[in-house]
């Protein structure tokens, strides 16, 4: 009798263990690989990192949106970005909150290398490390990395950084 009882427990226990392991593996194997909402939102932002939205960069702003914050604070993105965010999140599109700044097309910073005195002030402010140079040497902007955030213009003591228009067109993923 006790033997039967033990064997039943043994068999059922094995089955339970086996099924558990299988389910666990299946869960791991076919885990839904949805990206976190904040990543999706971040991809829709212009990624300029200019901090005009009041957050220290695009990612923190995306974080705040994911937590339910307003979607109309990003001036570089403008109405386009707002529309896409609204579409993604199922919210009402609103107009850009102009307290944060006005929408303008995308620029690229260029340093007039002849006038640069090599003070490194611009390097310190660039959020994406798009400026190279060293103390008392000429500085220059890496075109591929510059997001056109304008932050480097103001600190330059000799005003040798200017913005040029680019034909870069920011593309946003279909939301």
């Amino acid at each position: 009798m006790i033997y039967k009882l033990l064997s039943a427990i043994g068999v059922l226990g094995t089955i339970a263990l086996f099924t558990g392991a299988l389910l666990g593996w299946l869960n791991k194997r076919y885990k839904k690989q949805d990206k976190a909402l904040v990543d999706v939102i971040e991809e829709l932002l212009p990624l300029t990192q200019c901090a005009q939205c009041g957050y220290p960069g695009c990612r923190p702003y995306a974080q705040s949106i994911a937590e339910g914050g307003a979607i109309n604070k990003c001036p570089p993105g403008g109405e386009d970005t707002i529309a896409r965010l609204a579409n993604l999140l199922g919210r009402e599109p609103s107009t850009l909150d102009e307290n944060f700044g006005q929408h303008s097309p995308i620029h690229l910073a260029v340093i007039d290398e002849r006038s640069c005195i090599g003070c490194t002030l611009c390097i310190q402010v660039c959020p994406v490390d798009a400026i190279v140079g060293a103390q008392r040497f000429m500085h220059t902007v890496l075109e591929d990395h510059c997001t056109g955030c304008e932050l480097c213009l103001e600190p330059c003591p000799v005003d040798c950084i200017s913005l040029i228009n680019t034909d870069i067109q920011r593309v946003y993923l279909p939301a």
Partner: protein
């Protein structure tokens, strides 16, 4: 249509497309300078040469010859009608030169794929060399109906083309190449069979007649035919050591290396509704001048009183302004009537498009997921391998403009990929910077706040001024 090549007179002005930046950085001559045919105007990776002698005037905006492109910057040269060449080197002995020297020569002569792709040939060959060359395929298939520029050239310059092929073999350090010619080009096949026998090249050049069915002349299809295996998606032929060169490109290589000539002319098939001919044209000739000079009476006939012309063959070509100019990749120009296309009807899922697609794609599905664009599905359906050959569109009973749609979606997908790449890059850089600043004891948060307040200040002071 006869296969004689007529030499075009230099037009009054030629216009050579150039990028603003390229011109500013690599421009070699000033406006107002007298230049000779073959003079280097813009150096750098994509050199531009004067295609006739005359005065370099200025840069102008003109309709571009590229697909769907905005008007683009062109250098204009006012021709003096003499068409005088720059003095060229003589007694060149290419057989003793190194592959690098020959490649440099090809690059500085501005040679690009003349079959329409216009990809720099030296880069193509150099990539193949980096990946160990395995095959050289010479493309003389020219499968688009109505385009005969290559065929005409094969008639006129078979010896030169063979010399060009030998040079390419020398550069790639290969023993053998395949010369693929369309089956219907009987006389070209005959000429090459003879010439190969005469010059005892049968060990080096293997003649291969290829069905002239469209799109067998496209690079990927041709590789499939010649090597028996299809290229994996997203792999360039050069990465597998396969080089496919068009016969016209080989002719240009011959000219560059034996005659020291830059690429300044090419053969173009010019069609009007009534007739057609092959003309050797100065690159940069406006299509309008070409039509007026060659068919003076017909240019103004009502059937062709149009401001449009089709560049390239009827299947892969596109419509451009008649003021656009011949480029290195222009194989064919065709006057067309201004017709309004029939409106597209809904897809009836007849499946005809899927039957004919040479890449075994499902055009009806691609169409379905192109509007609105569904990135994941389109990638799964391999939109990127669509050749935009236009066959699906040709057979579609609902006249759906499939090819254009696919081309646009392809562009968008590419842009999305670039944007995602950029997003990753920016995030990585911001992250790296944060870590670095924190290590050195500065907080990014306070730094950014400082920056922001400065930006605000400067903005408001700008406003006040």
């Amino acid at each position: 249509m006869n296969l004689l090549i007529e030499q075009a007179d230099p037009p009054t002005r030629v216009y050579l497309a150039v990028q603003d930046r390229h011109w500013r950085e690599h421009g070699q001559v000033d406006f107002g300078t007298y230049v000779l045919k073959g003079s280097l105007l813009v150096g750098g990776d994509n050199p531009v040469h004067a295609t006739t002698s005359g005065t370099l005037e200025r840069t102008v905006l003109r309709p571009s010859s590229r697909k769907n492109a905005e008007p683009a910057l062109h250098l204009s040269i006012r021709s003096d009608g003499k068409d005088q060449w720059l003095p060229r080197a003589k007694n060149l002995s290419p057989l003793t030169q190194s592959a690098e020297a020959l490649l440099t020569k090809i690059a500085t002569a501005g040679i690009v794929g003349l079959g329409g792709g216009a990809f720099p040939t030296a880069t193509k060959l150099a990539t193949a060399i980096r990946h160990t060359p395995r095959y050289l395929i010479v493309n003389g298939v020219e499968c688009e109906p109505g385009v005969q520029a290559d065929e005409a050239l094969m008639h006129a310059a078979s010896v030169e083309i063979l010399q060009g092929a030998l040079l390419a073999l020398q550069i790639l350090n290969l023993d053998q190449c395949i010369l693929a010619i369309g089956e219907d080009k009987h006389s070209a096949l005959e000429i090459f069979t003879q010439k190969i026998l005469q010059q005892e090249l049968s060990g080096k050049i293997q003649l291969l007649p290829v069905a002239d069915k469209f799109p067998n002349g496209s690079e990927r299809q041709l590789i499939k035919i010649c090597t028996g295996t299809a290229l994996p998606r997203n792999v360039y032929p050069a990465q597998l050591g396969i080089s496919v060169l068009n016969v016209s490109t080989l002719y240009a290589i011959y000219q560059a290396i034996y005659l020291d000539q830059a690429l300044v002319e090419r053969v173009v098939t010019l069609h009007t509704p009534q007739s057609a001919k092959n003309i050797r044209v100065h690159i940069g000739t406006p299509a309008k001048d070409l039509v007026n000079n060659n068919f003076p009476s017909r240019a103004n006939a009502p059937a062709v009183s149009t401001n449009l012309i089709q560049r390239g063959g009827p299947l892969t070509g596109w419509i451009q302004s008649i003021d656009a100019c011949v480029e290195k990749g222009t194989t064919c120009l065709q006057l067309i009537k201004n017709t309004v296309p029939k409106p597209a009807l809904p897809c009836i899922r007849c499946g005809k498009c899927a039957t004919i697609c040479p890449e075994n794609l499902l055009p009806q599905e691609l169409y379905w997921y192109s509007k609105p664009l569904n990135e994941a599905k389109l990638n799964a359906l391999k939109l990127t391998s669509c050749l935009t050959c236009g066959l699906c569109e040709t057979v579609c009973p609902s006249q759906i403009p499939l090819t254009n749609m696919f081309r646009d979606s392809q562009t968008l997908l590419k842009q999305y990929a670039a944007h995602k790449q950029q997003a990753r890059q920016v995030s990585a850089r911001v992250k790296a910077r944060t870590v670095r600043l924190e290590k050195s004891g500065q907080s990014t948060q306070s730094q950014r706040e400082k920056r922001l307040s400065r930006l605000r200040q400067s903005r408001s002071s700008n406003h006040e001024q």
